[in-house]
Assembly symmetry: D2
Homo-oligomer: 195 residues x 4
């Protein structure tokens, strides 16, 4: 009957809405020499992965391709602090992004950084990455808490931090996870994907 | 007949979708002593107003209320450059925003600035405002073009600009309008309001 | 005899050189609500005072006068972090400095900051103060060690720091002292006063 | 006679003072793709050269050696704006400077930048270079006028500037010369060389 047709139609529409949901892609790209930034990148990626409907690409800046940059709904870039600035391979990666016709416009952007000492450039590096993202028309955000305003940062060597530890302290890894979670959520929201 | 019922239902749903659209509110708040920043604020507000379904509140920082800050889906803040920094009344306005429980989380934020000379603090002021917004958990963006990466800026006095003119040059006002348009669009998108 | 005259002359010149040495004045100006920035200011002032031939003025920004700003050979300004930015009373103090005819040109400038969390604005505040100083033609510097690149900073509340403690941790106070010492030395050198 | 001896002695001392003056060395290092930053570098070098007793080394960042960096009393670094950041070859040059035992401590540092548009990264690049210099313990300064607060900058493409012109507009070249002059003077003063 006609009722059945209507019910079927509604059912079809609901199903289509649920299952044709476009996957949201989060690219986490980092540069790491000693492993600290890689460890933080893994925490960020883990946070993003914990959101449903999200595909995470975790890549070093030399592995990440332009296709992946274009595919991503959110890009989270991490760098160690080199003389208060972004590591050159990270900046070169950013500079390789396509600019003409603004293909990165409205993608979500975020940043993370690792440095040796407190107030020794971690803020600078996070904000330098965010500024470059603004140049590409991206929409940028930090983490979800007052301890992660500009993204996520980790300090590896200054007291009272244990310089013997190779791995990052848990509180810094937690900042990374929180950042990944929030950016995945924002990417879904910006893409109109319902949580 | 049943056909009529279906048609009515579809009609109702369409109408509800169109008219129950939540209005998107854009707050443009500025501080101005000589009128330059006010002129740029008006251009920003005009750009935002040109988007359908957007209510624009244009207020000086002393007029804007906490209720309006909380109501807004996007906040665009403008300041003259004072010694490479945000004017204190603007910073005081920002510092008055509620912080506890992050009520500004996920609002869209943007900035504009007016300064006397080229490279004399306009970038600093825009980025300082954006950084403060990040502290509140806002999601920040610049304008839509390569000439408006951090928001909108206007230079009022250095050659080759005419220092006699009271009003801002048209190319700077255009940057303001473009910023207003983009931020209104982003606010709609972030709120799930279809363009 | 003539020998005596020469000896006397040399003696006089030496004495005059030693005792007519212009005193170098270092102004340490701060704003503090909870006492943290005041504690760091005292450490900075103590460091500067430890240098011979240096007069230190330690003042809150509401106490410091324009005359003292003009008298100082070095100005060290400290602020708590308020939403990633300098506290408005500190910026108002800076904005009160005389600008016309550049009377602050070539004075040494430095900064210090206290904030609640790691990478939550301490770098921003130090660099914002330094940028404003550059506007006045000042010559700016940080502390003498890799842990004090932009001046001195202290983190008061985030783990692994003890939030119960009212006073700043010793490692942060040490940064303040080091900054004060270096800036006093630089002021002497810039003024041509031999150590 | 004794009088003659005294006169001779004074004469000798005066001569020695005048002629044994240590030469002050200013290194101007730049990276340039289209020639704009090179043109600004030449203006900076010309300004520094106009000061007596100053040797200027004008080098691209690939030509400048670590020995020259160590020899210099002042280092002025210039970069085009690449996505709101320092060009990677410039950052790599800075990252090549010796850090251990702070051999660059107390050298004077300054920066200049060229960019396509107004408020599109020129401030960022100048300040990013200055921040890196602070990491090395350098003492940094801008130009001598309110139009050159962070060094020198030139805008090459945005209206109302003529994009057809290959060479920089005279007002930007003047900023470069002023910066070179001031930094040479500061380097002499910091080294105790009398003007």
């Amino acid at each position: 009957m006609k009722t059945n047709v209507v019910v079927s139609l509604i059912s079809f529409l609901l199903t289509a809405t649920l299952f044709s949901q476009p996957k949201v892609v989060v690219l986490v790209a980092y540069y790491s020499e000693k492993g600290h930034t890689k460890a933080l990148a893994e925490a960020v990626a883990g946070g993003a992965q914990s959101e449903s409907g999200v595909t995470v690409l975790l890549k070093s800046v030399s592995e990440a391709t332009t296709q992946e940059v274009l595919l991503a709904d959110a890009i989270i870039v991490g760098s160690p602090v080199f003389n208060a600035a972004v590591a050159p391979p990270v900046q070169q990666f950013i500079n390789s992004w396509p600019f003409k016709d603004s293909p990165l416009q409205n993608k979500i952007g975020a940043a993370f950084a690792t440095g040796g000492g407190i107030s020794a450039g971690e803020e600078m590096v996070q904000l330098s990455i965010l500024r470059s993202m603004l140049i590409f028309g991206m929409v940028v955000a930090g983490g979800p808490e007052w301890t992660t305003p500009f993204g996520a940062s980790a300090v590896t060597a200054e007291t009272p931090f244990d310089s013997q530890n190779v791995s990052l302290r848990p509180e810094f890894l937690k900042k990374g996870r929180l950042l990944g979670e929030r950016i995945a959520l924002l990417a879904k929201r910006m893409k109109g994907v319902h949580p």
